[in-house]
Each structure stands twice: as C-alpha cells, then as structure tokens.
C-alpha cells in the first residue's frame, strides 16, 4: 500500500476536502476572517430626526412612534414622560413644530404626531398606576421655588422631581395650570384632562402647589431669592390696552381676561355680535369661545392681511366652520356706545407696519372709516406681565431678561412667556425642562453649557425607495354645529388604537435605527448580527465584514455610515491574518477537528439506530419488570 507509513502533520490535516465550518457560524468566521478586505467599516450612528430637533422639549418622537407601531404603548408613554410631563395636554393644544419639520412632508404628508402623542397621553392617564412614580429617585431635601403653575412651572417642577428635588409652586390664581387653564378654552383642552395631568404630577410627591399666591403681593422677591434656587415662570396675563376713543365702554374686554374668566368657570357673558381685534391665536380662541357662549356671530378684525394671520391653519379652518368671519387689514378706530354700553365700532382699512424695535405700528388708510354694529369687543393684541415688584434691571418691556441659559442672576432662572413673550405651550414646557437641568447644575456646582449642536437628518439622507407612499390619517373633528353648542365639546377627536398604530407606522425613523432588519437581510456576508443589540440594534462582525457597504447603501433611515477603517485606532481591534489564506497556523487542523466531529456524530447516530430494536423505534433496554 502506498499510504503505509505516511503521516500528515496536524497543522495540515484536512480530512474531507470542502467540508469546513460555514462562515455563517462563528467558527467559520474565525477561519475566514475576511474583515481584512475592508477599507470602510459600517457604523451605526444615530442622528437627530427633524421632529425631535424641532420639539422644544426634545421629545424622542421617533422612538415613541416606533413603540406605538409595535403596540408597545406603555414604553411609548414612558418615553414621552422622559421629556414632557403632560402629553395629554400637548397632544391637544400643541402647535406641533414636529409635524412642520417632519421629513415625511417631502415624501407625501407629515406624520400626525400630535394625535399619537394625545393617544399615548390619554393611555397614560388611564393607567391604574403611574409607571413613572416608581422610577423616581428619593427626594434629596432641597426645595426649589417656582413662580407660576403654567406649563413652564409644572415642567420645571416635574423635571426637578426626576432629579430628586422638591419644589414649591406659587400660583396667583385660585387653580393651578396658568395659561393652560386661563388661556386655552375647554373645547381645546377639557378641564378634567388638565386637572388629571396636574394631579398626576402632584401625586409624584415633592411638588407643592400654593394657589392664590401672587408674586410681588403675597410673596416678595426677597422671599423668593431665599430659596436655594428659583424659577420664574409667571407667564404674561395682562392684556395690552388699545388706546382708542370709547374703549372704556361696557362690553369691551381683553380677550385674555375673557378666556380666563371662562376658563376658571366664572360667570361671563358674550353678546350675539362680537368684534375681536387681533390676528393671533388668542383672537381666534376668543372669537370661537364667544360664538359658543353667546350663540351669535363673531368677526376677527386684524391689521394682518389674510395671508399674514398668525393663527395656525387648522384653527383658522375650524373657526371658519364655526361661523367666525374675518376682516383682514382692518383697524379699530373708535368704540361707539350708548349709556356706556357698546353698540358698535368704527373701523378703517389698515396695514400692519413695524417700528424700529419690531413692535406693531398700524398704518391706517384715511377716509375708509365705516361703522360696524356689535355688542361685544374683545381685544387680543398681545400681552405683558406686571413686573414692577422685580428690581428694575431684571425686566424690560414686560419680559424678564436673562442670559442664553435663561439665568436671571444667581440661582434664579426664568422661562416661558415671561421670558419669550407670547409663545407656545411646548416652548414653556421645554424651558421648564432646561431650567430644571440647569438648576441641578448650579446646585451641584457644574458649569452651564450650551446645547450641543444636533446633527439633523435631512430627507435626502434617507433611502426613500423603502417607504411606500401612504396618506396621513387626519384626526376626526366634532361637526361644527355641535361644537358651537357648548364650551365643553372637544373639537378634535382622538385617534383610535388602530389609527395610532397605522400613523406611527408611517414614520421613516429619520437617521435613527429602528431595527428594520434591512442591513441584516441585504448583507451578502452574514456580517450583520442581531443577536447582540448594542449601538442600535445590530452589531457588525468586523472579523468577517468585507466592507462592501451594501448595508450603508440600503439603510432606509440613514443611521448606517461608512467610516475609514484606518480611523479606528484601537490596535486590538484588528483583523489580522497570519497569511493571505490562513488566519493563523493550525487553522487546517481546526477544520479537520470540525469535520471529524461531524463524522463521529454521524457514526454515533448510526450506532444508536442499530442498537434500537427494529420496528417500534423504542429504546433497546426494557424495564427490568418486563424481562422476568
């Protein structure tokens, strides 16, 4: 025999040609570490989706939409609550900068984010037990003073509580909520929802709301400053006066005062012919409330032209449906009255002009004066705050001045309308969140730092081919006739569960890995692994990935990037082969061991089958009892 006396050295053994561990298995990848082909390495690096970036509270919108998509509502709710304490409120009243920024608009229509938020908020309120409470740290004994229980104050208190601080909130009115209660009509935000959201916060413990405490009257600047830290969030609730003839007549009212009285449930009346002066959302809210209260008509007279109106489009449309009329480019010249009661107004054509400081300066057109009959006039031309109780240098033109961090002086911070002027609820919520973070920093002697510049994912960065076009699910509205009948009928209706899921499913998850498995599927080399979920949802097997970049090309969300291999500096992170073909000496022997094991297993199975009795397939060994 020619093979007699031959010996194959162990490192060269390869018993059956072509039988090796497959590269899909770890053993195989160790034997074929083709990672050394690579110039570029795919890296999962999440960017900021435009919605998250646009939201002043920094809600992780992509994340909770993804949870809702997978019907994980509790996770979605908890995700919102990390940034925004009152999703049921913002889910109803937010002017949704997120939807405005949504990349989906470039694809077909933006996602109905606000409705999903409302769905999750209401889901959270309906839970028998607050999932947040158990996650809070114990109180650390430090109490922060907050002025105002509007969205900014409540958000600050909530986020302070998340960091272990307790807070005391001084509220001027007899009920908490600030503008949420006093400025937003119940048909936008039902009172029980607001109450439930506030109760949810006070039940967390450590948040003490003291109503009827007006700063400057019931509590002094000195007392406020005596707290370790103070957050001023008293909003702007004093309507600007309009200096025209006859303005003191009965029936002329600030729109804010009108909404506040209505919001607090105090007796208030509106006539059947209401003239609203102003071109913003307050004018719209006031006109629509007046229509509900008086059952008559309302006209919104604004300096702004129809195109310049500052009313959000869907409110404008709803107002029209409810019978609110518009008189754009119109200025109030004089109020007409009989026996001190308004009977009409003189108006004229006008244009919106601006003075050097950006303030409103109407440009009237002489000779266009005309009379308009009305029994109620609501003035909605902006608001300020009463701040004379503060040291003079801390305020200017009805707002409190602060540095870029919202820091007034010392440990005193400010946020919301009293810093910004009239702005959105969600701005106030964001200010409260940031103030809580910064108060924590100053109290723990950390430096205040500007927000890092986010890298926002543009539509162009997505692989849009992966997203089929699908229309937006519009939230249904109560019919206009029914809306007019009551202050309490909500205008916008909630998404059903199915609608919330379907709408969330439209999210393109811009720049953020949502575990779509596309990389896992397209990888020609089984190098994308989803067994270890870190850095997003997947890991790249760098020992085996050849750097073909198909995954990067085909990533729908754009969260996968290519990074030059030589930029990875860790010397241990190297896929080095001993030779061009073998990763190390003795690799053949490993293949040999693998093959021998397969053969031995097969022989064992074969032997086992032969020792089994023929026919029934039962084990050969019988119980002893049967043997006898």
């Amino acid at each position: 025999m020619s093979v007699r006396g031959t010996r194959i050295p162990p490192h060269l053994q390869l018993p059956i040609a072509g039988v090796t561990p497959p590269p899909t298995e770890k053993d195989g990848q160790r034997l074929f570490p083709t990672g050394n082909f690579r110039f570029y390495r795919p890296v999962y690096r999440d960017k900021t989706p435009p919605c998250n970036n646009a939201c002043p509270t920094g809600e992780q919108i992509q994340k909770y939409l993804d949870y809702v998509k997978h019907e994980r509502y509790l996770d979605g709710y908890v995700t919102i609550m990390q940034d925004n304490p009152m999703p049921s409120v913002t889910g109803r009243v937010c002017y949704h900068p997120c939807e405005t920024a949504c990349n989906r608009a470039a694809h077909d229509e933006p996602i109905g984010i606000r409705s999903v938020e409302r769905f999750l908020g209401d889901y959270g309120l309906a839970l028998p037990e607050d999932p947040i409470k158990g996650t809070l740290p114990p109180l650390n004994g430090t109490t922060v003073a907050i002025v105002g229980s509007g969205p900014a104050g409540l958000a600050c208190a909530y986020h302070l509580r998340r960091r272990g601080y307790s807070s005391v909130i001084f509220e001027a009115l007899e009920k908490p909520g600030g503008m949420l209660r006093a400025g937003i009509p119940a048909w936008h935000l039902p009172e029980q929802i607001l109450d439930a959201e506030i109760t949810k916060l006070t039940r967390l413990g450590g948040i003490d709301i003291r109503c009827g405490m007006r700063a400057g009257q019931d509590i002094s600047w000195g007392e406020l400053r005596s707290y370790p830290a103070t957050f001023l969030a008293l909003g702007q609730d004093v309507g600007r006066r309009l200096p025209v003839e006859g303005i003191e007549a009965r029936g002329v009212m600030g729109a804010l005062e009108f909404l506040r009285e209505a919001g607090l449930g105090r007796p208030i009346k509106a006539g059947r012919q209401v003239l609203v002066i102003g071109g913003g959302n307050t004018a719209s809210d006031a006109a629509r409330s007046a229509v509900r209260l008086g059952g008559g008509e309302a006209i919104i007279a604004s300096l702004e032209s129809a195109g310049e109106l500052l009313i959000v489009p869907e409110d404008l449309e709803q107002a029209r449906d409810e019978g609110v009329a518009f008189a754009p480019n119109t200025s109030l010249v004089k109020v007409l009255s009989r026996d001190g009661q308004v009977t009409g107004a003189v108006v004229c054509d006008a244009r919106l002009g601006k003075d050097a400081q950006g303030g409103v300066r109407p440009e009237l057109v002489p000779g266009t004066e005309r009379e308009v009959p009305c029994d109620t006039i609501l003035i909605a031309i902006g608001q300020v705050q009463q701040l004379d109780w503060l040291p003079d240098h801390l305020s200017e033109r009805g707002v409190i001045t602060a540095d870029q961090h919202g820091r007034v002086e010392g440990n005193v911070f400010v946020g919301g309308d009293v810093m910004r002027g009239p702005s959105m609820v969600v701005d106030a919520l964001g200010d409260g969140k940031r103030a809580a973070r910064d108060i924590d920093r100053v109290l723990t002697a950390q430096a205040l730092e500007p927000e890092p510049e986010p890298e926002v994912m543009p539509y162009e960065g997505l692989n849009a081919a992966y997203f089929r076009h699908a229309p937006r699910t519009e939230a249904l509205l109560t019919p206009a006739g029914e809306r007019r009948r009551s202050q309490k009928v909500e205008v916008t209706l909630a998404y059903s569960r199915e609608q919330a899921v379907a709408e969330s499913d439209r999210c393109m998850s811009c720049g953020v890995c949502n575990g779509c498995d596309n990389c896992y599927i397209v990888c020609p080399d089984v190098s994308v692994m989803r067994d270890t979920r870190e850095n997003g949802h997947y890991t790249i097997r760098t020992t085996y990935c050849k750097g073909c970049l198909v995954c990067v090309q085909e990533c729908p969300t754009g969260c996968l990037e290519k990074v030059p291999e030589m930029d990875f500096e860790d010397p241990a992170d190297v896929t080095r082969m001993e030779t061009a073909f073998a990763p190390y000496d003795g690799a053949h022997a490993e293949q040999s061991a693998f093959t021998r094991q397969l053969i031995e297993e097969t022989i064992a199975e074969y032997d086992a089958a032969r020792t089994a009795p023929a026919g029934n397939g039962k084990p050969a060994a019988q119980p002893n009892g049967d043997a006898g």
């Binding site: 050394n36 690579r38 896929t575 080095r576």
Partner: protein, 255 residues
C-alpha cells in the same frame, strides 16, 4: 547578495500597482546582471476585488534554485500598496529579525501606522518607510478606489491581472513613487538604473526624494525618525545603515 520583495495589494483594483513595483525591481536587477525573477500571484485568488494579493520579485548574484515557490519565504523588502494592509495581515512572516524594509503608501504619520503592529512584527523591521504615493503620483483621476486609473483601464488591466501581457505602461501612477521610496530606502540598487525601468520616471524620483522613515537599526533605544527633508538626497552613502545584512538565512534551499 539576495533579496526577496513581496508587494502586498488589493485584488483587481490595485493589482496593477503591485505588479508594476515587482516588475520594475526585477527588470532593473536583471538589467544590472543579477539573477532575477518576477513572479505573479497564484495562491491568493487575485480575481477577487479587495482581497489581499501579492506580487513577488527575487534577485541575487547566484542562480535561484527553487524558482517555483509561490510565496517569498523570507521577504526582506515589503511594500504595502494600500495602508489598511497594515491591519490586515502579517506581512513580515518569514522576514529575518531587524531585516525588513517596509514601505507603506499612506498620508498618515508613521507612528500612527506602527501603533497597529505587534512587537513581534516591529522586531522584524529594519526600516519603516511611509510615502504619500497617491500625493506624489501623476493625478489623472480622482477616484480613491482606483487611485489614478479609470474604469476602462481597469477593465483592460483585468486581463493582465490574469496573466496576459501587460497592456499599460509599466510603472505609472502610484507604483512609481512607491518604487522610488523603496529603491532609496533600501539603497541596494542604483536609483537611476531602477528609474530606467519605470514609465513615470519623474514620479519615481519624487518618491525617492520624499518619504518618512523610522529606522529601527539606529544604535540605541528609540528608533530614529526622519522625514522627507532628510531623505531629500537619497544615495548609497546616506542609506548605508538601512542595507540589511544578506545572511545565508536568505537562501531558499529548503534542505
């Protein structure tokens, strides 16, 4: 005197560069009267894009007995056509201790590249030479993947990769500065004699004049470092220290 040159490169896209380096060195050695072989890659599947491929030259003043060995058993000249090869393979397998001159095409700092090498590989190096061959080459195209060649040239070159005759001039593109740096750093072959074999003579001379070198054969402690300025005037005198010994260990007799 006997040297083995192994040029490491990437399949298809940079095969021509590697071939050119080994071809020119072997041709120069042959022209100088040495016994020389220029050997293609046969064991590395050179038709696979990006995979590691090698080209070899060996030359000396006595006949080469084992002409048919696939891989240079004891390469003392090593060229890496592309920098990620630093991480990819033990390119100093078989190289005698302190005997290897390694030339890398990279814009990076030599110390950054050395960081990826284990001590046992560093122990085999006499010199570590970094040359920005892409920067020094005649730029004809912007593609970082193919360096200075375009797709149609690459398609034609595919035939030569498989072993057909060379279609394109030998010693163009980044091969030229690499050959220059290698010739200057090793100092074994006269620069002019090698330049005669290189199509892009100017780029070859630019490579010979501008490279960074870490000299591990320096007398004490830390390896000596130099950059382009010191290497400005390459020549046998200045390079004496880098000439590796030519011990009998280089003999390929597999006895």
């Amino acid at each position: 005197m006997y040297h083995e040159l192994t040029v490491w490169s990437r399949g298809i896209i940079m095969d021509k560069e590697a071939r050119d380096v080994s071809s020119c060195i072997a041709a120069a050695a042959r022209a100088l009267g040495y016994y020389a072989d220029n050997v293609s890659d046969y064991v590395d599947d050179p038709d696979r894009t990006n995979c590691l491929v090698r080209r070899y030259a060996r030359f000396g003043d006595s006949p080469i007995v084992d002409r048919f060995v696939y891989e240079n058993p004891h390469p003392d000249w090593v060229v890496l056509v592309e920098e990620t090869i630093i991480k990819a393979v033990n390119f100093l397998r078989g190289t005698p201790e302190r005997g290897g001159v390694v030339v890398v095409n990279s814009v990076r700092d030599p110390d950054y590249l050395l960081k990826f090498l284990p001590d046992e590989m560093k122990a085999k190096m006499a010199k570590f030479v970094v040359v920005d061959a892409v920067g020094l080459a005649e730029q004809r195209d912007r593609s970082p993947w193919m360096f200075v060649r375009n797709l149609s040239e690459l398609a034609l070159d595919r035939m030569s990769t498989e072993g057909a005759e060379e279609r394109l001039a030998i010693g163009m593109g980044i091969a030229a500065p690499l050959i220059g740096a290698l010739t200057a750093a090793t100092g074994e072959l006269p620069i002019d004699a090698v330049a005669d074999q290189v199509a892009d003579r100017d780029a070859m001379l630019r490579g010979a004049a501008k490279y960074a070198v870490v000299d591990f054969t320096a007398a004490a402690g830390e390896p000596a470092r130099a950059n382009g300025e010191q290497a400005e005037e390459p020549g046998p005198d200045g390079e004496a220290a880098s000439v590796p010994a030519t011990p009998a260990a280089h003999s390929t007799s597999a006895g």
